[in-house]
Amino acid sequence: MKPEKQELHERARMMIALGEEVSASEQAWLADHVEFCAACRGFIEVAGEAIGSMRTIPVTADVSLVSMTKARVRQRAQQLQLHQERLWVISMCCAAVTLGTAISTFALWQGFVWMGLGSWLQSTPARFGFVGLGFLALAVMPAVLAAVVLLAHGTHMADYNENYQG
């Protein structure tokens, strides 16, 4: 077969394969071509049967597969929700600690100023004791409280379980 004739057949078969997604002028050309080309007419028939068969091939998913998939998806959704909640709690605790530290720094500063101006704390141990108590109450406490909240939410256990289960 001459190359140009081969090209015409290829073009016609491509149009047949693409079905309705060819323009009206191309369809008219195709109609003219297949009128005189038995091979391409045969291809129309074969392609039609193949497409028809493909559309009727029965492939069904088992009920057990569907129910197992649903269960797995729900379980993963719960894990993701838990993870999201934990992230939220951690974020809130971090924000609280930051705020507590800022407030306590300001309060400690004011305390030092008051201590420096006052004459009631004369001895060095008393001054150290005052600073230590102040730091403990105002700077360490927010972090301790945040840790208590995180422990209460079982955050460390969830991490452990996730790692353990892989």
Partner: protein, 197 residues
């Protein structure tokens, strides 16, 4: 006619937007509905992509987990099924890539692989028997042709996707999609002729 078309397009857009909202919330009830709705189509596509039922079933589950995890990426502007199939395809490709550096051409064209399982239907009248025989022939043909042809034919004629949607799912240019459809059908020709004998 135009009003009906507009109505259908609008309803589909609404449905896709609704799905996108539900996926953002990770709504498990919506996911249950989607699994029910797309179960057969997705499994059929995966079966054509992998060529093995067990593999297809594994990927089926993984696809829905991925849909849950990446649901926020779906914006509802395109058809949900196209997005779903793209996720399934990427999952299969990633998995094969991790195991060995392969291209789509080598996925499940293994001669020794277990044949693609097509469940036989129950007792049927003559027409159905003929149809069944043709289906068996087409299945044999589908097993043997290159996987990129098989995938494109399945998306086009089983899932009824447009050429643009297929290009989106497979990441192939439009011209390549057209050529795969033609070459895929041409490759099936010997099996279809065999079924007539």
């Amino acid at each position: 006619m135009n009003a009906i078309t507009y109505c259908l397009v609008s309803t589909m857009a609404d449905e896709n937007a609704e799905i996108a909202r539900g996926l953002r919330r990770r709504d498990p009830d919506l996911l249950d509905q989607l699994i029910e709705k797309y179960q057969h189509r997705l499994l059929r596509y995966l079966l054509h992509l992998t060529g093995r039922r067990e593999l297809a079933e594994d990927f089926f589950q993984e696809t829905w987990i991925r849909v849950l995890e990446r649901g926020r990426q779906y914006d509802g502007r395109r058809e949900f099924s196209a997005w779903l199939f793209a996720i399934a395809r990427n999952l299969v490709m990633d998995s094969f890539r991790r195991k060995q550096p392969v291209s789509l051409d080598t996925v499940s064209n293994d001669e020794d692989a277990a044949p693609m399982e097509i469940p036989a239907s129950g007792p049927t009248p003559f027409d159905s028997t003929v149809q069944n025989e043709q289906n068996q022939q087409i299945c044999s043909g589908m097993e043997k042709i290159a996987v990129e042809y098989r995938e494109t034919l399945a998306l086009r004629f089983q899932e009824g996707m447009s050429l643009e949607e297929i290009a989106n799912v497979t990441g192939a240019p439009l011209g390549t999609v057209k050529s795969r459809i033609y070459r895929g059908l041409a490759a099936l020709e010997p099996w279809m002729k065999g079924s007539r004998l």
